[in-house]
């Protein structure tokens, strides 16, 4: 018991999702073991919440209180002998008794941890009916005289019945409570939890504030990194060109398929990257109310249905349900090579760039135009990525599910159009200039995204 951080015991009846809550609070998807099997957590495990390497809060995961009725009975009988002793005293007597190492071993661990903690989070599965054992559980907690904050879990479930719980918690004198859903937590729930704790324990208000601020900052960084990933995919696909091996229709179709396949694969990699960024395992995605199944979009990028889903936000042909696809790259006919790009090419790129341009121009003259993705496909990819990022941010927030019709369109930023005229970048993914363009595009998108979200 050294250190000056806040100690929080996470207690509750068995199988109410304590470990899930801990996983959410620690951002550690591998914390403890979670299973539907009761009493998976057989011993006290703890997790420290860190900010810049400093411990601010330590959370103790406890085994479930499984037999509160029998234990309370024992404690009441023991009190008969020493009526005067207070709750804490009686709990200490129990912990010293042989029963604490025997039949009530699990309960003893929980109570001992409660006595050592500054506060307790009492996790409730709000789908459970209120039973006598729950009431006894609350009495046991009250005996330890540790401040208790009830956390109502699984409120999203249709079977949830929070009213009965509100009543019994109120009777136990626990009027402050936090609503949480450890499977699909709302961003705000975590903040409410820490704020409620700060109100309950003013001496820890400052570290809790720090923790909140750090978590908010981290969320913002995560969001910006997400947009950077999206920008990277957009740039990679915007500069992509495929030249048909011949001039006939078959060759053209082959090149088209190749281009679409590259786009599909890149989008999948983007999805994987975003899931990784938000610390989702592919396996854990399905039950998180995300628009993915098995970590994949259900509808193919080039399926007209995909475009129709985002029709309000797309312009032109895609909105009409036409398959987004491929455009012939005419841009290179020397028209759009901007003065800046030219200067850069002459001053810096030198011979290599000039040679590449020359080869492309030669191809144009010989009637072998290169193919590239049309802006509609890129816009659609952007819309889908935007949608996924929002879903990941809210982690299944209810408001994400339907796409509001007529929501402001997410047009391709002008910068991306300029970037698309640098096909030579497709061969130089690590060139500092391209990386800089990606960073800038990511920032622009993040700003635009925040603006859209604020509407």
């Amino acid at each position: 018991m050294n250190g000056d951080w806040m100690r929080l015991a996470v207690v509750g009846h068995t199988n109410t999702g304590k470990t899930s809550l801990l996983r959410t609070l620690t951002r550690d998807a591998d914390f403890g073991e979670v299973s539907a099997r009761p009493a998976t957590t057989r011993e006290v495990q703890s997790a420290r919440l860190l900010v810049e390497g400093r411990v601010l809060v330590e959370l103790f995961d406890t085994p479930g209180l499984e037999d509160p009725i029998a234990l309370l009975e024992w404690l009441d009988d023991a009190a008969g002998e020493r009526r005067r002793s207070d709750g804490v005293e009686r709990v200490r007597q129990f912990l010293a008794s042989p029963l604490a190492a025997g039949r009530f071993q699990q309960e003893a661990k929980v109570l001992a941890q409660l006595l050592r903690s500054d506060a307790a989070l009492y996790v409730i599965d709000s789908r459970d009916p209120v039973l006598a054992k729950h009431r006894d559980e609350l009495q046991l907690l009250a005996l330890c005289a540790t401040p208790v904050l009830p956390v109502l879990n699984f409120l999203r479930d249709p079977a949830a019945r929070p009213s009965g719980w509100n009543e019994v918690l109120g009777r136990a004198g626990l009027h402050a409570q936090v609503r949480f859903d450890s499977v699909a937590p709302e961003r705000a729930a975590e903040r409410q939890l820490y704020q409620a704790l700060a109100l309950m324990l003013p001496s820890f208000a400052e570290p809790l504030q720090q923790l909140l601020a750090a978590r908010q900052l981290a969320a913002e960084q995560q969001r910006r990194a997400g947009w950077r990933l999206i920008a990277e995919a957009l740039v990679e696909l915007a500069v992509l060109r495929v030249r048909p091996p011949g001039a006939d229709q078959g060759a053209r179709a082959m090149a088209l398929q190749q281009l679409q396949q590259r786009a599909r694969e890149r989008e999948q990699r983007l999805v994987d990257d975003l899931l990784g960024l938000y610390r989702f395992n592919r396996g854990s995605v399905d039950n998180q109310e995300l628009p993915l199944r098995g970590g994949r979009w259900g509808v193919d990028l080039f399926d007209p249905a995909a475009a129709r889903l985002f029709a309000a936000r797309l312009g032109g042909g895609a909105a009409a349900g036409a398959a987004a696809g491929v455009a012939v790259d005419l841009a290179f006919a020397g028209i759009t090579l901007g003065a800046a790009a030219l200067t850069g090419a002459l001053l810096g790129g030198g011979v290599q760039t000039a040679r590449r341009y020359g080869r492309r121009l030669w191809g144009q003259w010989r009637g072998q135009p290169e193919l590239r993705l049309d802006p509609d496909s890129l816009t659609l990819l952007l819309c889908r990525a935007d949608y996924l990022l929002r879903a990941l941010e809210a982690r299944g927030h209810g408001a994400v599910a339907p796409i509001p019709p007529g929501s402001s369109s997410l047009a391709l930023p002008p910068l991306l159009r300029a970037v698309a005229e640098r096909p030579e970048w497709s061969e130089r993914p690590d060139s500092p200039e391209r990386e800089r363009a990606v960073a800038e595009l990511g920032e622009q998108l993040a700003v635009a995204h925040a603006a859209v979200g604020a509407n």
Partner: protein, 460 residues
Amino acid sequence: MSAAGRAETAPPVLPLWQRLWLAEWLRRQEERGQRRDDRALVAALRPLRLGDQEAILRRAEGLLGADEQASVARARHGWPLLLALTAGLAIVAGVASAAAALAGPQPVNLAWSVAVLLGLPTLSLMLWALACGRRGGRAGLSRWGGLLGWSLPAAQRQDGLQALLGVLRRPGLAFWSFSLVSHLLWAVLLLAALLGLALLLSLRQYDFVWETTLLPVALLSRALAWLAALPGWLGGVAVDPAPLLAGGTDSPELRRAWALWLLQLVAALGLLPRLLLAALAGLLWRRRLARVGLDLAAPYYLAVLRRLQPDSEQVAKADAEGRVPNFSLAGERPGGRGRWLLGLELADQEPWPPEGWSAPAGPLLDSREQRRAALQTLQAQPPARLLVAVDARRSPDRSCLATLADLAACGGPLAVWLLHAELAGERSLLWREQLLQAGLPAARIIDRLAAAAAWWQEGE
């Protein structure tokens, strides 16, 4: 472990830009899939509580191979020699330009001398100013930092060079360092020209004219006035242009005055701007160097930071694994009388007796008092058959199992009726597992009304 030890003990010895170079180099390698095993290093770095960037830089220094480290360290060593060689060339060029300015048939045309001495430097200055104003030009110029990369072995050039360019490029560092070096070299060249000029003017006698064939004379005289403006403003000697324009310098005083005029012109219009710009470039370069840093918004660095400064850490188990007590439901005492249907831990909304049940039903057990009363009754009159209904949607916990064990110990065979087993999914399986583990025969785990009624009938 050696990597971890290195990172812990070695203080940062390289200048910041080279450490950034290393970090960017590692990023390029790791982003291409060459992930390193950094567990030991990360474990060593975590407790040091370094800042974001510092932690990343230390990690890169600990993880990058010796080859890369050596290359980065070496990149600095070639510099002084290269600079000295270039400066030597600049001196030679300066002296040569002084000689060229005064060469040719006597008398020397001052207009020619001025053009030779200041023409090229002014042209390059204009080009530099152009690049300064244009982003594209600056971007192109920034590649000059790639010169450093030429010292890299061919195998490292791909990642190493790009990484260096990335570091130098970001805040205009390369442009200003290029500006500093180029202005300094021009200053050296002009200084050499000035000294060479002074030497030649001291050792030989030159006559000066200011002449033209094609251009109007008025233009020449105006040019003279313009050229003299800055030196004059700085306090240089003022010379009356009339005799020079009239025919030349025939007196020693005039020759001397015009020689001095030429020297101060080179100093004021050539050397001075270069020195000032070199100072400015140096200042800006230093300032940008102080601001240079990693792009921590990049997803790669975010991922690295999550390893170096995790949001949370797990602490070893505080308790040894406990043994969970077992309950026995196998106990069966013959000789009991009567049959009981009991409900254990059922919700208030639950209909009791269960729908479709026609036989008489016993009490519900939830609170301590109810349990105690039922146990007392059953112990006093042991039953022949006990059917206990539980809600399969709830978790089977030890409180339930302990109560079931107490009940089973009272009398005849006990069966458990899992209500709503069809809705309970995985939990109904858990009930089965736990009950079997407690010794209840599978035949006495019932999940349908018909089966419950049948088991009840058997007892008659």
